[in-house]
Structures are given as structure tokens and as C-alpha cells.
């Protein structure tokens, strides 16, 4: 065997081919991973259970008899999807480091940015499958029960849930790129989940009580949290009144009207872009392999 020594064109810093190869590898791995199937099954079971047990209520929120089910699904997504996405992102990257497969990837002619973006796209694909499974189960059970499910509404909610998962996945990858190992990454992801889902809410409530914060500031404090942005966008998607969310909802509806959905979507998109950019940055500057 003789070595290849002929001249070659210098590769660009960022090329789509290795990104696609890595994304495909991540999706194939996810399809063989028991945690992925556990996530899908768990989400499907919870969504199905909510659909079967929710009582139709025309007065609660929009979209007729499906309103209560949809609202319950929103509450479920708020809790479960950030947990799934944060732990997936954090566990995946630090797990690659633990098993030595990160060195396997990085000793090829690929950049760290390509590895991270490919990983992100692959994990986003597997999150899409998890969310689709959950909402698919909700749709099937709802149709079996009362035939009142609104498929367009379900698709809207599923897409919003996926958008929320994209932001949380980016945050998970930031954690994965700085965590020393997979177990530390998992712990950090759980803390981030608590902060985003519970502590953020409690912090805002405490600040309101302590400082008598004006409603504009309260709205700003709420909307910067991607989970709250998802909730506001979902309520708008359900054709429900933002009054259901208290004074902040009333203010948002009065101030922004239908534009509220775009603001919420913009917040989630900004979180996604910011988190992925931060993940690329932390992954590139570190010596950890």
C-alpha cells in the first residue's frame, strides 16, 4: 500500500457533507437507543392518558370540545419536552467524550463546528420523532374517544413543541460541551430544567411580590423564558383568550394583539439560534476531547 501524496483542494471550514453524515449517524444511533424509545413511549403514554381522561369543556378555551385536552397537552409539553431535550443534548455530547467516539470523529477532516451542527440536526430529528409520536398518540386516542380532535390544531401544537425542544436541545448541547462527563452533564441538565420550568416562574412571582413590578416589566420577565413563550404561543394557537393567563395575558393581548404569537415564536427562535451559537462557541474553545 502506498500513500496518497497528490495535491488536493483545501476544504472549506464549514461544508454540508460531513454535517449530513454526522446527522445521519446521530439519527441512526437514536433509533437503536433504548432511551430514545423510552422517551417516545413515555410521551405517547402521557399524551394518550391526558386525551382519554380530559373532559370536554366548551367554556375553558378555544377549539370547542378539544380545548381542555389541548390545554392539558400544553401543560404536559411544558414539563416533559424541556426535560427530554435538555437531557438528550447534555447526555449525547458528553457521552461521546466519555466513550472516546468524539476523538474518532474529530481525527477526521471535519471541524468542531461541523460536528456540533451535525449532532444538533440529528438530535433535532430524533426530538421531532418523539414529539410526533406523542401528538400522534393524542390524535389517535382523541379520535377514538369523541372524534372531536382538530388535526390542524394538533399539528400546530406539535410544531410549537418541537420548536421549544430545539431551543432546549441547544441549551443541552452547551451543557454537554462544557460538562466533564455524561453524569455531570445529566446533573447540569436537570438543574437547567428546574431553573427554566420551575425556578423561573417562582423567581418572577417572588420579584412581583417584593417589588410590585409594573405589568410591562412582568411581561418582559415572563416572555424571555422560552417555556413561557411556548405557553403564550400555544394559547394563541388554540384560539383561546390570553385573559386565561392573568394580567400579563391581558396586557399582552391589549398591547400586541395577534402579533403576540409572532413575538413568542421570535423568542423561541432567538433562544434556539443563541443556544446553538453558544454551543458552537463553547465546543470550539475547549480542549476537551
Amino acid at each position: 500500500m502506498t500513500a496518497t501524496t497528490q495535491p488536493f483542494a483545501l476544504p472549506r471550514t464549514f461544508e454540508p457533507r460531513p454535517v449530513v453524515v454526522i446527522a445521519r449517524k446521530v439519527i441512526r444511533e437514536a433509533s437503536r437507543d433504548r432511551w430514545f424509545w423510552l422517551n417516545c413511549a413515555g410521551f405517547a403514554v402521557l399524551a394518550g392518558a391526558i386525551t382519554l381522561t380530559a373532559v370536554p369543556d366548551h367554556n375553558l378555551i378555544g377549539s370547542g370540545g378539544f380545548g381542555r385536552t389541548a390545554a392539558s397537552l400544553v401543560a404536559l409539553v411544558q414539563l416533559v419536552v424541556p426535560l427530554m431535550a435538555l437531557t438528550l443534548g447534555a447526555r449525547y455530547l458528553s457521552g461521546e467524550r466519555d466513550s472516546g467516539t468524539l476523538v474518532f470523529l474529530l481525527c477526521h477532516p471535519v471541524s468542531r463546528t461541523e460536528v456540533l451542527v451535525g449532532t444538533y440536526i440529528g438530535l433535532a430529528g430524533s426530538m421531532f420523532a418523539s414529539v410526533a409520536t406523542g401528538f400522534g398518540a393524542a390524535g389517535v386516542f382523541s379520535a377514538l374517544r369523541s372524534a372531536s380532535a382538530d388535526p390542524v390544531l394538533l399539528v400546530r401544537l406539535a410544531m410549537l413543541s418541537w420548536l421549544l425542544s430545539l431551543a432546549m436541545l441547544g441549551l443541552g448541547l452547551v451543557i454537554g460541551s462544557i460538562a466533564r462527563n455524561a453524569s455531570t452533564g445529566l446533573g447540569m441538565a436537570l438543574f437547567a430544567w428546574l431553573a427554566v420550568v420551575f425556578l423561573g416562574d417562582l423567581g418572577v412571582m417572588g420579584t412581583v411580590v417584593a417589588t410590585h413590578m409594573p405589568v410591562e416589566a412582568l411581561f418582559a420577565a415572563v416572555i424571555v423564558n422560552p417555556v413561557e413563550a411556548f405557553r403564550l404561543a400555544s394559547v394563541v394557537a388554540l384560539d383561546g383568550s390570553l385573559d386565561a393567563l392573568g394580567p400579563v395575558g391581558t396586557y399582552a393581548f391589549d398591547r400586541f394583539g395577534d402579533g403576540m404569537a409572532y413575538i413568542a415564536l421570535g423568542v423561541m427562535a432567538a433562544w434556539t439560534a443563541g443556544a446553538v451559537a453558544a454551543a458552537v462557541f463553547t465546543f470550539r474553545i475547549g480542549d476537551r476531547i
Binding site: 500500500m1 502506498t2 500513500a3 496518497t4 501524496t5 488536493f8 483545501l10 476544504p11 471550514t13 457533507r17 460531513p18 453524515v21 454526522i22 449517524k25 444511533e29 437503536r32 466513550s99 472516546g100 467516539t101 468524539l102 476523538v103 474518532f104 470523529l105 474529530l106 481525527c107 477526521h108 477532516p109 471535519v110 471541524s111 480542549d287 476531547i289
Partner: protein, 284 residues
């Protein structure tokens, strides 16, 4: 082919590679030799651009810091600890590596033949023995037919038979146009495989010499375990001490400290004293 100038790498306050400079010409085989912690693996990681560093590294005329992807395109690398995706088969692992490099699938059959893994192509990586994993690592490194091969302790985790086969494979890879850089702490292996040794000590270049001169330059010491009849052990110790050897009783014989290039002297000493040498082995 490889030019390293004033390479320095520190992890916080711990300097692992300290102002190291060397070059390797095309077709040359070079060993980075040194004890654990000498900085051998870190040098390899710097060559691959896996970690940041100060100084300058050129591979094939390319600045590794400016063109890290292109540099890695010229290098085949076998790490000391092989990290593969356990649920992939050998063929799938090579396909993944080939796809990352944009190589045709036809290369897979060629390298599987070169490392004698054709029959195992469908086996999952998690089912492979240490020797097979090492050969898979070689196959991944050889897939692009690279002009530079970096091998980090390629035989450290192998049994005697696998080690012999690996050394034979590595020997067959030497040739014009290809650079082999091997890290090792085994003097005997270094002697068989390389043209030149760069001996590292605490991240600095301590010696640069042909492999045959390494033991003399470093005053390396080995331990010879000589098996003797139990009744002769005490007398043998006295005889060895009288001849200036550092010797101790050990199990069914004596343990004698000898210069690595002069192991026979201890055996000759015992033989001249009419001791019944039943067996011996070298401990390093």
C-alpha cells in the same frame, strides 16, 4: 513532511510539552519515546489539531493551525484508547469514516484485506477482541491511504501474538512517501520499526538518535528474573553482589538489575559460578 517548531502545550499551570522542535522527512519512520507522562500523546493531539497549542506545526507544507481540516486529511491516526460506536459493524464503522472523508466505498474492501478483517466485516464493534479493535483502528487510519500515519502506543493493549502481528503490519507500511510517527515506551519495538527516536522527558526533547543508540544514551535498566533451584538462591545472590550486580531474592529465583543492552552479563556471571539456570525472563 512534518515540521514542529517551539511546540508548547500547557493545561493550566502544568506544561506538558515544552518548546519542542523536530522535523520528519517523507518516507521516514520516527518514534516518540518516553515514559508515561512524557508528553507523547499530547504531541500527537497537537499534530491533529485536537487541542490548542503555541508554536508552529506544519504537515505537508500546511500550517496545522490555519488549515486543521486539510492537515487531518493528510493524517491517518490510531489512538491509544480506541473509541468506536459499539453498535456499528466493522464495515459500517469504515463506511462512516469513509463518508466523513468523502471516499468511495470500494476502499473499504481494500483496507479490510490489508488488516485481515474481511471475514469479520459484519461483526459489531462491541463483539470484537482487543486485537481486532486495534486492527480496525489501523483500517480506519489506512482508509484514506494517508501520507502520514500517527500511531499512539499501537501495541500497548495487545497480547504477545497480536503484538507480533501488529508489528509485522506496521513494518509492512514503512516505505517511500509515507511518514510513520509511533509513540511507544517499548525499546524493543522502537528498534524494529523506526529510523530515528525522539526521546521525550517531561515534554522536552531529551535525545534524538538512531534506535540502536537509545539504550546507551538513556542508561536504561531492566530487571532479569532468573529461575534457580531453591538451594542455590542464597549463594547466587552472594555471587551476584560480589560481581557488582544489584540483586534480590524473588520467588523461585533472583531478580537482577542489568543495563538494557547488557542483559547477558548477569546470565554469564551466574553460569560461570556453576549455578543451574532453569529459566529467565526480562521485566522492564
Amino acid at each position: 513532511m512534518i515540521r514542529v517548531e517551539h511546540l508548547t502545550k500547557a493545561y493550566r499551570r502544568n506544561t506538558v510539552v515544552d518548546d519542542l522542535s523536530f522535523s520528519v522527512e517523507g518516507g521516514e519512520s520516527v518514534a516518540l519515546w518516553g515514559p508515561n507522562g512524557a508528553g507523547k500523546t499530547t504531541v500527537i493531539r497537537c499534530l491533529l489539531g485536537l487541542v490548542g497549542y503555541t508554536g508552529r506545526i506544519e504537515v505537508g507544507g500546511l500550517d496545522a493551525r490555519v488549515h486543521p481540516k486539510a492537515t487531518r486529511g493528510l493524517i491517518g491516526y490510531v489512538p491509544q484508547e480506541l473509541g468506536f460506536y459499539g453498535d456499528l459493524t466493522i464495515a459500517e464503522t469504515l463506511a462512516l469514516s469513509g463518508d466523513l472523508r468523502g471516499l468511495p466505498r470500494s476502499r473499504i474492501g481494500e483496507v479490510l484485506g490489508a488488516v485481515a478483517l474481511e471475514a469479520e466485516a459484519g461483526k459489531r464493534v462491541c463483539e470484537l477482541s482487543g486485537g481486532m479493535r486495534q486492527r480496525l483502528g489501523m483500517a480506519v487510519a489506512l482508509l484514506p491511504d494517508p501520507p502520514v500515519l500517527l500511531l499512539d502506543e499501537p501495541t500497548s493493549s495487545l497480547d504477545v501474538g497480536s503484538r507480533r502481528r501488529m508489528v509485522s503490519l506496521l513494518d509492512s507500511l514503512r516505505g517511500p512517501g509515507r511518514v510513520l510517527v509511533i509513540t511507544s515506551h517499548r525499546v524493543e519495538e522502537v528498534g524494529m520499526l523506526v529510523d530515528r527516536v525522539l526521546a521525550l522527558d517531561s515534554g522536552r526533547l531529551a535525545h534524538e538518535c538512531p534506535p540502536g543508540e537509545l539504550t546507551g544514551r538513556l542508561n536504561l535498566e531492566s530487571w532479569l528474573h532468573v529461575v534457580l533451584p531453591e538451594a542455590q538462591t542464597a549463594d547466587a545472590l552472594v555471587h551476584l553482589w560480589a560481581s557488582g550486580f544489584d540483586a534480590h531474592e524473588n520467588g523461585h529465583g533472583v531478580l537482577v538489575g542489568v543495563a538494557t543492552g547488557d542483559k547477558l552479563s548477569a546470565l554469564n556471571c551466574l553460569s560461570e559460578g556453576d549455578f543451574d539456570i532453569r529459566d529467565f525472563e526480562v521485566w522492564r
